[in-house]
């Protein structure tokens, strides 16, 4: 059985690495205008293995392909500058055993990734090493074994290990994005749940587009998704098991439920329930199905998001007259408004590191994605555009993904919806590739950690 989410990567060996003397360090706390020059050597594969993978995966050179996955991840991060492989002087198999550091220094590489791929007992075995060129030594070495179909994931895991070794923080490359794939006329948009790797590959559609679906969010183990579906024209929060495809309505509410998210322990779903013109925030315990009302106010209370320790909830309310961001204890007590800048604030979402809340701001006809501290101080706007909203954090809290819509003319032409990402620093703004138009992205946690 191929398991969609359980992929066991066995770490075969870990050579002695001497962390304390490493010379390379990448500072990710500020915008990086000088990305670290790195060489990602194609991973070496001897002919017999190469042919096996060619048969199985239809890849001419699996070693080269995995190196491209790593290269692309590093480039997209904005922190690294992978050098052109054409400039490499050493053969992959030799470089992996004993790199000639002078050669790599000559092309200005400061770090080098080498590796070796083998087909062993019908499985894919990948070994890689990270070398510090200036210090002239190996600083990381790991090997993984998995099913051949997971070859791209191996590239992502290697990137995570390299990123962690060089920045001192966990990576975010072996992750997935769940989002809403969009097609068709603006007045009758077809929307489907879609899931893809963080780099835009391996897209799978989880619903057929027969009913409107919105705002999917992962549970902490990335096996379940909660989202809003208009199935039978009854907008309700649903729960979907990604592996089995089984869907169920969350709770038995006599009206629209929406804006769902999981609690950090995955045991509850928090959402809005609208009745008689009033939206309040509720939780439902997924084990015993107990429903709790968290807010009780005649205004609109929506877009709840837990702090990572589960003790607080930030949410969106117009109780002051307009949309603002509030924080309360998770039992609904001690409600406190935290957004006080000019404009309207929506979609608050608590950072996985706990120290920041990302939001959407609407001011003078422009939309901004920004962050503020959890007490509302230190507001920082990262990006301004005609329309954008709904940030979601990378698991390491360094990158935000959101969606952006373009203006259309009076006939609706020119409209598009795309996913974008930006670093917390406000640098490295990039469109994220999707097969179709896309919105409502939600970032998974690290799949292998």
């Amino acid at each position: 059985m191929k398991n969609f989410f359980y992929i066991y990567l066995t770490v075969i060996f870990l050579t002695f690495t001497n962390k304390s003397f490493a010379l390379i360090e990448v500072d990710i706390t500020r915008g990086n205008l000088n990305p670290l020059p790195m060489a990602v050597s194609p991973l070496s594969v001897e002919k017999e293995s190469k042919d096996k993978f060619k048969d199985q995966l239809n890849l001419n050179d699996i070693g080269l392909e995995i190196s491209k996955v790593i290269e692309n991840n590093l480039r997209q991060s904005g922190l690294f500058n992978p050098l052109d492989q054409k400039a490499f002087l050493q053969k992959p198999n030799i470089a992996h055993v004993k790199p000639r550091f002078e050669d790599w220094a000559l092309i200005k590489a400061q770090a080098l990734i080498t590796g070796e791929v083998k087909f062993a007992n019908d499985r894919l075995r990948v070994e890689f090493r990270l070398w510090d060129i200036l210090a002239g030594k190996e600083i990381l070495a790991l090997a993984f074994t998995t099913v051949p179909e997971n070859w791209r994931r191996v590239g992502h895991i290697i990137t995570d290990k390299v990123y962690e070794r060089l920045t001192g923080e966990k990576g975010y490359f072996d992750t997935r994005i769940i989002y809403v794939a969009e097609e068709g006329l603006k007045t009758n948009r077809i929307k489907k749940l879609a899931i893809m790797d963080q780099d835009g590959f391996n897209t799978k559609y989880l619903t057929l587009g027969n009913e409107l679906v919105l705002t999917p969010r992962f549970n902490p183990t990335n096996q379940m998704v909660t989202y809003l579906s208009y199935f039978k024209n009854l907008p309700r929060v649903y729960l979907l098991d990604i592996e089995t495809g089984i869907q169920e309505v969350v709770g038995d509410f006599p009206g629209m439920t929406f804006a769902p998210r999981f609690s950090p322990d995955g045991k509850k779903i928090i959402m809005s329930f609208a009745k008689d013109g009033n939206s309040d925030i509720y939780t439902m315990d997924l084990d015993n199905r107990v429903v709790e009302k968290i807010t009780n106010h005649p205004s609109i209370d929506t877009s709840p998001s837990y702090s990572p320790d589960g003790k607080f909830i930030c949410f969106n309310s117009d109780r002051s007259g307009y949309q603002q961001i509030y924080v309360m204890r998770s039992d609904g007590s001690k409600v406190k408004r935290i957004s006080f800048g000019n404009g309207l604030y929506g979609t608050p979402v608590w950072s996985p590191r706990g120290d920041l809340i990302a939001f959407t701001k609407l001011h003078k006809g422009k939309f901004y994605i920004g962050v503020m501290r959890t007490d509302g101080t230190g507001e920082r706007l990262l990006t301004e555009n005609y329309y954008q909203e709904a940030p979601s954090w990378s698991p390491n809290g360094r990158v935000l993904i959101f969606y952006r819509e373009t203006k259309s003319d009076s006939k609706g032409k020119g409209f598009s919806a795309k996913l974008w990402s930006i670093d917390l620093t406000g640098y490295n703004e990039k469109m994220v590739n999707t097969e179709t138009d896309a919105s409502d992205p939600s970032w998974s946690s690290l799949l292998s950690d």
């Binding site: 007045t187 009854l234 629209m256 804006a259 008689d276 013109g277 009033n278 005649p298 329309y387 259309s408």
Partner: protein, 157 residues
Amino acid sequence: MSLNKIFRNTLLIVFASILLSACATKQSGKMQGDVYTGKDTVEYLASGVPDRVFFATNETVLTTASRETLRKQASWLRKNSKINVVLEGHADERGTREYNLALGERRANAAKDYLMTYGISGNRISVISYGKERPVDSGSNPLAWSKNRRSVTVKAN
């Protein structure tokens, strides 16, 4: 609580009427303030009974024209007592998705409350919000947005 709400809504309506009469001179084409007053997208439940009412940006208050439309709907519903309706609440595209879902629900309920005030049983009215998901005009301009901020009364049977 519901008394409170009625009181609040009434206050808002009074306030809005004052506001509207104040800006009545600022007519600009098919909008009054930023509430749509044209008929381009309007359909009719019966002769002279428009199916929809329009709202100002971020507002859920019924305008004078909206209340007139809803009174016509109420009297038509009284005469056609076997017909049930769904009120579909909508928002324009210039707001965050989740808030707009709540806003659409509130708009449809503002219309529902008004129909109930005019004697239509709540059992005959159901409400659904589409937020910004189903615009009737796909343009990105103030006129298009004003047409999209609406509550539409649709026959359910």
